[in-house]
C-alpha cells in the first residue's frame, strides 16, 4: 500500500482524526479495499490487545509475594514500637541467623562478656557448621566436630534459635550498658559512637530491604552480617569504655 492514507489508519482506528480528515478517509475507504481490510485488521489487533488475558508466569509467585508483604509489615511493626524512654532508640535485630547461615555466611556471635560462639558454614551452601561453645552441644558430639545443619532438624533449629537470641541479647545488653553509662563518656566520644552506630544501622536496613526484594542477591546477607559484627564490636568497645570509667 503506498497511498498516503496508510499512515493515518491507526489514528483513524483510535479516533484521533478531526472531523474533516475522518470524513475524507471514510470516503476513501469505500473505494479502497486494501485500506478497508487494513482497518478491519487493525481493529482486530487493538481488540485483541485490549482483551488480552496474558500468559501466567511459569512459576506462581504468590507465596513469595505474601512473604515479602509479611516481612514488610513485620518490620514496619517493629519500627513503630514505641521507645521505652525518651531519647532511646530501639534497635532491633532485623535479620535472622538461619537466613544468614543458609547463605553460607560465617557468623561470630557473642553473648555479653562470655567468650562467644563461632558458627561457621563450611563451604557456602554446604550447611555444615562447627559449634565451639560446649554449652550448646549435646553430650554425644565432642567439641570441634561438625554437624549438618538442617532447617528441619529440631535440635539444629533449637541451637540456632538460641544463638539468635543470644546475639540479639548481646546487642541489647551492650546497648543498655551504653545507655546507662553514657554520661560517663566524653561527649565527643559518645557522639562518634552513636553516629557510627547509626551509619551501620542504616546500611543494615538498606541491605535488608534490598535483600527482601531480591532474595537472589545473596551477597547482601554478607554485607548485613559483616555490618552486624561491626556493630557488636563497636558496642563492646563502648561498653568497655563505660566500664573503665566506672
Amino acid at each position: 500500500m503506498t497511498d498516503h492514507w496508510t499512515e493515518r489508519l491507526s489514528a483513524y482506528v483510535d479516533g484521533e482524526l478531526d472531523r474533516e480528515e475522518r470524513g475524507a478517509l471514510e470516503v476513501h475507504l469505500t473505494s479502497c479495499e486494501a485500506c478497508a481490510t487494513a482497518v478491519a485488521q487493525l481493529r482486530q489487533v487493538v481488540g485483541w490487545a485490549h482483551g488480552y488475558e496474558g500468559k501466567p508466569p511459569k512459576v506462581d509467585v504468590w507465596d513469595a509475594v505474601a512473604r515479602g508483604i509479611r516481612e514488610r509489615e513485620g518490620s514496619r511493626e517493629e519500627s513503630r514500637h514505641p521507645p521505652k524512654r525518651s531519647g532511646e532508640r530501639v534497635r532491633r535485630f532485623v535479620f535472622t541467623v538461619p537466613q544468614l547461615l543458609a547463605a553460607g555466611i560465617a557468623l561470630a556471635l557473642f553473648s555479653g562478656t562470655a567468650v562467644g560462639v563461632a558458627l561457621r558454614a563450611v563451604g557456602a551452601g554446604s550447611g555444615r557448621t562447627v559449634v565451639t561453645d560446649p554449652a550448646l552441644l549435646p553430650d554425644e558430639i565432642p567439641l570441634g566436630e561438625s554437624f549438618d545443619i538442617d532447617g528441619n532438624d529440631p535440635w539444629t533449629v533449637a541451637v540456632v534459635t538460641q544463638l539468635e537470641e543470644q546475639y540479639a541479647e548481646a546487642i541489647a545488653d551492650l546497648e543498655s550498658l551504653l545507655r546507662e553509662g553514657q554520661d560517663k563518656l566524653d561527649s565527643a566520644t559518645l557522639r562518634v559512637i552513636e553516629e557510627n552506630l547509626r551509619t551501620i544501622d542504616e546500611a543494615v536496613e538498606q541491605a535488608t530491604v534490598a535483600l527482601r526484594r531480591d532474595p537472589a542477591a545473596v551477597y547482601l546477607s554478607e554485607l548485613i552480617s559483616v555490618n552486624l559484627r561491626r556493630k557488636l564490636e563497636l558496642l563492646r568497645d563502648a561498653a568497655a569504655l563505660v566500664a573503665s570509667e566506672t
Binding site: V192, I200, A217, V226
Partner: protein
C-alpha cells in the same frame, strides 16, 4: 639509672614530674602499657634494655610490674584517679608491644615484634611490626607503614591507611576510608560502611582479595600483567574502568565477573550504593575520591 631485673618485682618509681629509668629486659619479652590519657610512644634500639620516660603530674607514679616475659607499666595516683602520662619507651627491636589507652595517641616505630595498639580517642601510628599487628582506634586514624606479617587494623570514624606492607591484611573502618598502597599480599580483606576503599597493590597468583563497602566507593588498581578474576556485586553503584574489561560468561548482569589474564587471583568487590572503579597503578588522581 640501671636497675637489675628481679622476677616478679614491682617497682614504684619516684614521683618527680618526669620519670626516666632504664633496665635490662629479655629481648623477646612483651611490653604492656595501659594508659588512660596521654601519649604512648614506643621506639626501638639494639640494646637488651628498656628505657621508660614519662611526663606526668606529681601525684602520679609509673608502676612497673615485671616477669621474665612481660613488662607492665601502669600509672597510679597517690590520691584519686591516675592522671595523664605521656610515655616514651625505648625497647629492644625484637620485643612485642601491647598498648592500650583511652584518651591516648599511640606511636610505635622500629619494633619488629608483634604489635597490639588500641585506643579510643587518639590516633594510632605504627612504622614497622612483624608477626601480628593489631591496631584499633574508635576516634582517630590508624596508620601503618612498613610492616610484614598479619595485619588487623580497625578504625571507626576515621581512616585506616596502610602503606608498604606485606602479609595478610584485614583493614576496616565504619565511616572512614581504607587506603591501602604499596601492598604486597596474597590475602586482603578491606571494608568500610560509608567510607571508600582504595587498593593499590599486588594481585598475587591464587590470592584472595575482598573489598566491601556499603555506600563508599571501591577503587582497585589492576596492573597490566595481572591475572585476576574480579567479581563485582553492587545494587546501585556504577562500575567504571579506565581500560577494557572482558566480562566472562559465568558472570551475570547482577554480578559480573571480569577476567584479566589467567584470572588466577580471586577478587571480590561488593558495594550497596558505592561505585566501583578500576585503574592502572599510578593512574589514580592524587586527590582522594
Amino acid at each position: 639509672m640501671l636497675i637489675n631485673a628481679l622476677a616478679g618485682a614491682v617497682l614504684a618509681l619516684a614521683t618527680p614530674q618526669a620519670t626516666d629509668t632504664t633496665f635490662a629486659v629479655e629481648p623477646n619479652a612483651r611490653l604492656e602499657i595501659q594508659n588512660m590519657g596521654g601519649e604512648i610512644v614506643v621506639r626501638a634500639w639494639d640494646r637488651d634494655e628498656m628505657r621508660v620516660q614519662g611526663d606526668h603530674s606529681r601525684r602520679t607514679q609509673i608502676v612497673v610490674r615485671r616477669t621474665r616475659s612481660v613488662v607492665r607499666l601502669r600509672a597510679r595516683a597517690s590520691r584519686g584517679p591516675a592522671n595523664i602520662v605521656d610515655y616514651e619507651i625505648t625497647v629492644p627491636r625484637s620485643m612485642s608491644v601491647t598498648l592500650s589507652g583511652t584518651y591516648t595517641d599511640i606511636v610505635v616505630e622500629g619494633v619488629e615484634g608483634e604489635i597490639s595498639a588500641k585506643t579510643v580517642q587518639g590516633n594510632v601510628s605504627v612504622k614497622g611490626g612483624g608477626g601480628e599487628v593489631y591496631l584499633r582506634s574508635v576516634q582517630g586514624t590508624v596508620t601503618l607503614e612498613g610492616a610484614s606479617g598479619r595485619v588487623d587494623a580497625h578504625a571507626v570514624s576515621e581512616d585506616v591507611r596502610i602503606t608498604n606492607v606485606s602479609g595478610e591484611i584485614v583493614a576496616e573502618s565504619v565511616s572512614g576510608d581504607v587506603l591501602l598502597e604499596g601492598i604486597s599480599s596474597g590475602n586482603v580483606d578491606a571494608g568500610s560502611v560509608s567510607g571508600s576503599i582504595i587498593y593499590d597493590g599486588t594481585l598475587q597468583e591464587g590470592g584472595q582479595y575482598t573489598f566491601v563497602s556499603h555506600s563508599g566507593d571501591v577503587a582497585l588498581s589492576v596492573p597490566e600483567n595481572a591475572n585476576a578474576s574480579l567479581t563485582v556485586a553492587t545494587i546501585n553503584g556504577d562500575i567504571r574502568s579506565r581500560f577494557d574489561l572482558e566480562m566472562t560468561r559465568s558472570g551475570s548482569r547482577r554480578r559480573p565477573i571480569f577476567t584479566v589474564g589467567t584470572g588466577s587471583a580471586s577478587v571480590e568487590i561488593e558495594t550497596f550504593s558505592g561505585d566501583v572503579r578500576f585503574f592502572r597503578p599510578g593512574e589514580r588522581r592524587s586527590r582522594r575520591p
